[in-house]
């Protein structure tokens, strides 16, 4: 049941901490079942706020976190469009953590798709009230009144500014949602346009406030020495040496947890008057650690074991026909094993949070992707009711999924309580890379056979990777259906026989979601193997992809035994359309000289992948000369349905291409003795400007389909497109990431 509610000023203050007279508006719609592991029933209602003050300034709440996608601009621009507000008289305010907003979990590339319609309703409701207010003031029918650019005009030519209408509009009954008129797309003023980010000037002047920039009177700074191995805890350390260090105020031990979840890691916090003093004090701790069950983990050995394990039968999760039988009698058989390493998020701003705690309440300032989860988990850690915890969301200096986990906010809260003063916990880069929620490594096995017409008649695929469920206490060591549905068990091929299996893989570190998550390894395996099949069949790869995908249809997996979560949406609303995947492949090859004759050592490669409900194809042109790889060009096409802000979409695609290039070429976290062998950018390299192709081209398919994901879908097809291009350029088939194992990058 949909309804719109008016807020009292007190309620508005509770949600934003700002005061405003004039029209205060909220809307409440039922939430949807959300696929992510930790969404709870608390997110079942959505309330959004538009306020207009006496000067006519329209304040729009941004309730999703800004980590570079531009969401603080995109969703407000939808509201402003529908309410006919002049963007120059709009101010965006970040919402606090509040379940009334609905989900604030800014992950899964779903901010626009989950809130586009709601924002339109918000704006349209405000516009309707303003028109009704004008009609009432003039004593004319509302049908003769039309809102346009911050004013309501009457057919006679009279007009009133929103400033003059707001307080009257606030007294009117709310309009019926079922008769609410939304703008036709042809009338859009802002939706679909490249409005610059609201924070652009601040970012460029250096005045933007990130989590690390929060400063409170009397604030202390903490640096934490954490157990290097998961499950370890402090045995001995030199408390006195740390305390005697200049500027150190306190040393506090932090207890770890049996189940990692979002809990802090066991460690020793050194708290001081400034960050440098805390780091210096921490360096004097000389800690020794209790032993842990995970201290023998060696990822090189483990990956070899997984690569061997996937060659043997696993548990079937999807099945069509008789794959093992068909493979046995197939004319030609092709097999391959692919491995991908652990990855670290490494956002430019490391995890950092600030807390102020007193006997009955707590205030958090954090660069968090999940303010409500932060509120809930901090409350739990302090033994307070969630309503007693206020969470302020700053700008995020990058997230990529790391800042969805509120462990760093809990650390700040515990230390603020322990010292009785506000405390900022800032993770060093070494902390960030050594204690990440790592992106899982993987091993994948593929086996296929051709019939005597050269068609693939059977395809078997097996995957092993540590599951994110391990962090929450799951011990079956199996990828969940949700994880397998990120492009592995959900692969779209029309082979008459298809079988997908999973093989166990234990976790000896915290595993988390990193920008496009399991789509990264699965797109690499699937996209590389399709290319291998094409070449084995002597076929041009793009047309081979189209044939392998098969006829236009909407995929259904249930008849084949696989529970496909479809990123939390129904297949009715967001079908898996093979036509749209083939569409982006065709658009891509049409957009560039695909199949051109290239000089020796150069080659094109392509791959395509559906993730977060969007369809993306990527083509890379590389040069391999004397063992040196250069990526010369990258092109991508996305079909993501309706687009709110095309410039932010293009920037996300440019960014995803470079993020994908970085992990493909050089991304690797390895473990020895249970500890990450990498710690900073000297041994965990990431792409720099010189490694970025000179030519990048991004295309958007024009579509009226419901909006789909933007932040993540550009990443998965990148690594296989580069590996496929390397094969075309050099004849080398590279099956293990990162590519700098084989080539200089």
């Amino acid at each position: 049941m949909k309804s719109i509610v008016k807020l009292s000023r007190r309620q508005f203050l509770q949600r934003t901490g700002i005061s405003s007279a004039g029209l205060l508006l909220g809307t409440s719609i039922p939430g949807k079942a959300l696929g992510a592991v930790l969404d709870t029933a608390a997110g079942s209602q959505l309330n959004l706020f538009v306020s207009i003050d006496e000067s006519g300034l329209v304040e729009i709440i941004a309730h999703r976190s800004e980590m570079g996608t531009g969401i603080r601009t995109s969703l407000p621009q939808v509201v402003a469009d529908e309410m006919e507000a002049n963007w120059d008289r709009v101010k965006v305010i970040q919402g606090l953590a509040n379940a009334d907003y609905g989900s604030q979990n800014t992950d899964g590339s779903r901010s626009v798709r989950d809130f586009y319609q709601v924002m339109r309703q918000m704006g349209a409701t405000a516009r309707t009230l303003l028109e009704q207010a004008a009609a009432s003031i003039w004593g004319v029918p509302v049908s003769e009144c039309r809102a346009r650019e911050h004013q309501v005009f009457h057919d006679s030519g009279r007009s009133l500014d929103y400033a003059q209408l707001a307080s009257h509009a606030a007294r009117l009954p709310l309009p019926d949602l079922t008769t609410l008129r939304l703008k036709p797309a042809s009338d859009f003023r802002y939706i679909g346009t490249a409005i610059p980010m609201v924070d652009l000037a601040d970012m460029v002047s250096g005045s933007a406030t990130y989590g690390i920039d929060v400063a409170l009177p009397g604030m202390l700074y903490a640096s934490i020495e954490r157990s290097p191995v998961m499950g370890g805890r402090p045995k001995t350390y030199n408390d006195k040496a740390a305390r005697d260090s200049t500027g150190v105020v306190d040393v506090i031990e932090i207890t770890g947890s049996q189940v990692p979840a979002f809990n802090p890691i066991a460690g020793i916090a050194v708290i001081a008057n400034n960050t440098w003093a805390a780091l210096q004090g921490r360096a004097k701790l000389q800690p020794q650690w209790e032993s842990s069950a995970h201290q023998d983990y060696d990822s090189k050995v483990a990956l070899q074991e997984l690569a061997a394990a996937v060659k043997s039968s696993g548990e079937v999760v999807r099945q069509r026909g008789d794959t093992t039988g068909a493979l046995a009698v197939g004319t030609r058989r092709l097999e391959a094993v692919y491995t991908t390493p652990f990855l670290a998020h490494a956002p430019m701003e490391p995890p950092v949070a600030t807390a102020r705690v007193d006997a009955s309440s707590c205030e958090i300032w954090a660069c968090t992707q999940t303010p409500q989860v932060t509120q809930r988990e901090v409350a739990r850690a302090l033994g307070l009711p969630p309503a007693a915890v206020t969470v302020h969301v700053t700008l995020l200096g990058g997230g990529f999924g790391r800042k969805s986990k509120p462990d760093f906010a809990i650390e700040a809260a515990l230390l603020a309580r322990g010292t009785g003063r506000p405390v900022q916990v800032c993770w060093s880069r070494e902390d960030d890379i050594r204690h990440d929620y790592f992106h899982a490594c993987s091993a994948q096995y593929f086996s296929a056979s051709f019939d005597n017409t050269g068609t693939v008649n059977a395809l078997l695929a097996r995957a092993a990777a540590p599951s994110i469920g391990s962090v929450f206490g799951s011990s079956d060591n199996l990828l969940s259906h949700g994880e397998l549905g990120q492009g592995f068990a959900s692969m779209p091929f029309a082979t008459p026989n298809l079988q997908i299996e999973r093989v166990p893989a234990p976790a000896h570190m915290r595993i988390g979601w990193l920008r496009s998550v399991y789509n990264i390894p699965f797109a690499f395996g699937v996209g590389s193997f399709v290319d291998e099949l094409a070449h084995a069949a002597g076929r041009e790869p793009a047309s081979f992809w189209l044939d392998l995908i098969g006829p236009d249809r909407e995929l259904d997996f249930t008849s084949e035994g696989f529970k496909f979560s479809n990123y939390g949406r129904s297949l009715t609303d967001y079908p898996w359309s093979t036509a749209r995947l083939k569409g982006v492949i065709n658009a891509l090859t049409n957009s560039l000289p695909w199949g051109e004759e290239l000089p020796a050592g150069q080659g094109w490669g392509l791959s395509a992948h559906r993730s977060f409900l969007s369809y993306v194809a990527v083509a890379s042109k590389v040069e391999v000369i004397d063992g040196k790889l250069s990526v010369l060009e990258m092109h991508c096409v996305i079909d993501c349905g309706t687009v709110v802000n095309p410039d932010r979409l293009h920037s996300q695609l440019e960014g995803a291409l470079i993020f994908g290039l970085s992990l493909a070429l050089m991304g690797e976290i390895s473990f020895a003795g249970g500890v990450s062998e990498q710690s900073n950018f000297h041994d965990y390299p990431v792409a720099r400007i010189g490694q970025t192709p000179a030519h990048i081209q991004t295309h958007i398919v024009t579509s009226n389909a419901p909006p789909a994901g933007v932040g993540e879908p550009g990443v998965p097809p990148v690594a296989p497109s580069i590996a496929n291009a390397i094969f075309a350029a050099s004849g080398q088939r590279l099956r293990q990431l990162p590519l700098n194992r084989y080539l200089r990058v």
């Binding site: 570079g68 980010m197 924070d199 652009l200 000037a201 970012m203 460029v204 002047s205 250096g206 933007a208 406030t209 990130y210 690390i212 200049t246 400034n274 960050t275 440098w276 003093a277 490494a346 956002p347 430019m348 701003e349 490391p350 700008l395 200096g397 990058g398 990529f400 800032c426 880069r429 359309s577 749209r580 569409g583 658009a587 957009s591 095309p646 410039d647 293009h650 920037s651 440019e654 960014g655 291409l657 993020f659 900073n680 950018f681 990431v686 792409a687 720099r688 400007i689 010189g690 970025t692 030519h695 990048i696 081209q697 991004t698 295309h699 958007i700 398919v701 024009t702 009226n704 389909a705």
Partner: protein
């Protein structure tokens, strides 16, 4: 000790070994200069010392004394340096965190080399990491500020398929 920052004199009492980065941020409230790695590897902390790009996390206060220090806050009055204008024209930032460091490195480059080649740009900016992938737009903005070109960062297009949309 005395520090000259953005043409202002500051008196602070601090460990001479403290990196300039933390003095700027924690002691002086100049937080435009960012922390990214603490080891001089990422460039987020880039400032100018006597006009030359330096990593503030690798510059102890003792070494910064006596130099004219410029931070992002002092690059241009009204934050309207040609690079800052070009950064806005090209909508360069995504998360924005690395951008003060990028702009400081770029401004030092253009001071020393007003018409840099593509190779010059890649070399000068190699020390500044951007995890969001804004490098193509950084290149374009530097070129625009240098008066070299007005081309967009990356070619963008809307593809309209022949068949009707779903």
């Amino acid at each position: 000790m005395q520090l000259i920052i953005n043409e202002q004199s500051y008196e602070i009492d601090a460990d001479p070994e403290m990196p300039l980065l933390w003095a700027l941020r924690d002691l002086l409230g100049l937080r435009g200069t960012k922390f990214g790695c603490g080891k001089g590897l990422c460039g987020a902390c880039t400032v100018h010392l006597d006009g030359a790009a330096r990593r503030a996390c690798q510059t102890p206060l003792a070494a910064a004394q006596g130099s004219r220090i410029t931070t992002i806050e002092g690059l241009a009055a009204g934050a309207d340096h040609p690079l800052q204008q070009a950064w806005q024209a090209h909508n360069v930032p995504q998360c924005g965190y690395c951008q003060p460091g990028q702009i400081m490195s770029a401004s030092a480059l253009l001071q020393q080399n007003p018409k840099p080649s593509d190779t010059d740009i890649d070399r000068a900016m190699a020390g500044n990491i951007c995890r969001c992938g804004t490098y193509p737009r950084i290149r374009a903005a530097i070129k625009q500020a240098a008066g070299l070109t007005n081309e967009p960062a990356a070619t963008v297009a809307h593809y309209v398929p022949e068949a009707d949309n779903p």
